[in-house]
Amino acid sequence: MTLSTEATTAEYADRALAGGIKPRRWGSWYIAEHRFRGMRAYYQTILATSIGNPLVYLFALGVGLAALVPQGIPNGSGTISYLAFVAPALLATAAVTVAAEESTYPYMMGFKWNPIFFAMNAAPISGNQIANGMIISIVGRILPTTAIYFVVMVLFGAVPSSLGVLGILTATLTGLAISVIISMYTAGIEEDKGQMAMIMRFGITPMFLFSGTFFPLASLPWFLQWIGWISPLWHGTELGRVLSYGYPEPAWLTAVHVVYLVGLSVLGWMLTQRVISKRLNK
């Protein structure tokens, strides 16, 4: 090794600044890459659940439970098979499940258990970029999951309309909306007191059960229907139904679904950025 005496302090500073240019520009994608590489640790279960879950749910609900509802579900002037009715709901639910999984523990990991977010932030990567990277990686996991789900739905003959393929995007949007709402909460958790279990138990599970997933929302007593109206999952499911089999609903309501999901996504994304940046700069 030769000792370089040539370089001056100014040159070192230039070099250091030059090294920061790329991370400053592409930092969000670096963080996403970091997460994707982290997912390799559990890629086997990701793969198994991505393929296994649609098989199990579509078979159990679309085929098994459908035997108890042979008359189908009222749809405008006619009816639609129970399988076609439940499939778009299960697609959106799959997106939400992955969103919840990836928006809880990974934040606890990054901030608390293995506080790598602070290290990233000490390098020239901003809090907003960390937020973006996390959200990109979450969407990056939801999209293939819903795509695989959709393929299985087609194999089951559960998608009457070719427009149904757009359900992959609306389901992913539903997942994104949920993910950023959970993220802005989990990114702020300082003390682990079982909040994750609570999110699942009092957030995700009731949302899954009371969002018109297994039956039209109107079958529920009126005092439970409001859960559906505020639930992103209900909006995502109804959108999926419109696309998949032409569920008749007024155009303004379809527009409300889209606006609601996009609105939540944008708002939640901004708030997640804020929570993360604030915590890192404390």
């Binding site: 640790a41 559990y42 086997q44 279960t45 198994a48 659940t49 296994g52 879950n53 199990v56 749910y57 078979f59 159990a60 609900l61 085929v63 098994g64 439970l65 035997a67 108890l68 509802v69 579900i73 007191k193 079982g194 279990a197 609570m198 138990r201 009092f202 599970t205 009731p206 059960l209 009371f210 297994f214 039956f215 079958s219 529920l220 007593p221 439970l224």
Partner: protein
Amino acid sequence: MPPATRRGVLGSLYAGNARSVISRGLLATRSTNYLVVLSGFFEPIFYLLSMGLGLGALVGTVATTTGQEVPYAAFIAPALLAVSAMNGAVYDSTWNVFFKMNYSKLYQGMLSTSLGPLDVAFGEILLALLRGAMYAVGFMIVMQALGLNLAWTALLALPAVLLIAFGFASLGMAITSYMKTFQQMDWIAFVMLPMFMFSATFYPITVYPVAIQWVVQALPLWHGVELVRGLTTGALSDAMWGHVLYYVVMIAIGLVFTTKRLKALFLD
């Protein structure tokens, strides 16, 4: 003063002191995760409300194994009870045990005292049962209030639920002793989901072809669901003794297996 050394066939395994393992578990629950434990009660209630009210409106009545027509909510409520017994027992005997085994090194500490592996196994399993019993009593009260207990034999569903929980807890702990990473733990959920969906929980298994019916009937949850459903709807049959026997065997295998594993891991 009793002698300091243990005697008898189980002398090397059992110090007759499982209660100290239980009291430690209760103390830990009270100080750290009682909210998580308490809130577990609500999950089956949510399922009952959603499926019973919403889906029940579409389905009407369903025939049980003995041919009795019951309202849909009365059909799924006992299944949810059996499932919550399974979930509680499996959660307690897998994730909890996994942490205690690999992270807090709790069992190493316990086994370096006079406690033996059978004390630890018994203590942990009874702790899981206590939690299961708590959920079951709560759920049975809700069922009673909604008029879903159709016969007096519903009272016997309580011991039945404990039997189911005991079976899953003892076997779950044995399986967990082989798990080394979080990722391996995910496979437990992967096995439990299809069992939950296919075990005559939401619809009778007669909708399947005969070959699939056999597979389902080989799985433990189906026996639990049938047993509890028979008791709460009053559709009794001799087959129920078979379900009980299934769990007795499962418990015996699980206990022997768990004790052996703990001994192999920490004492040999």
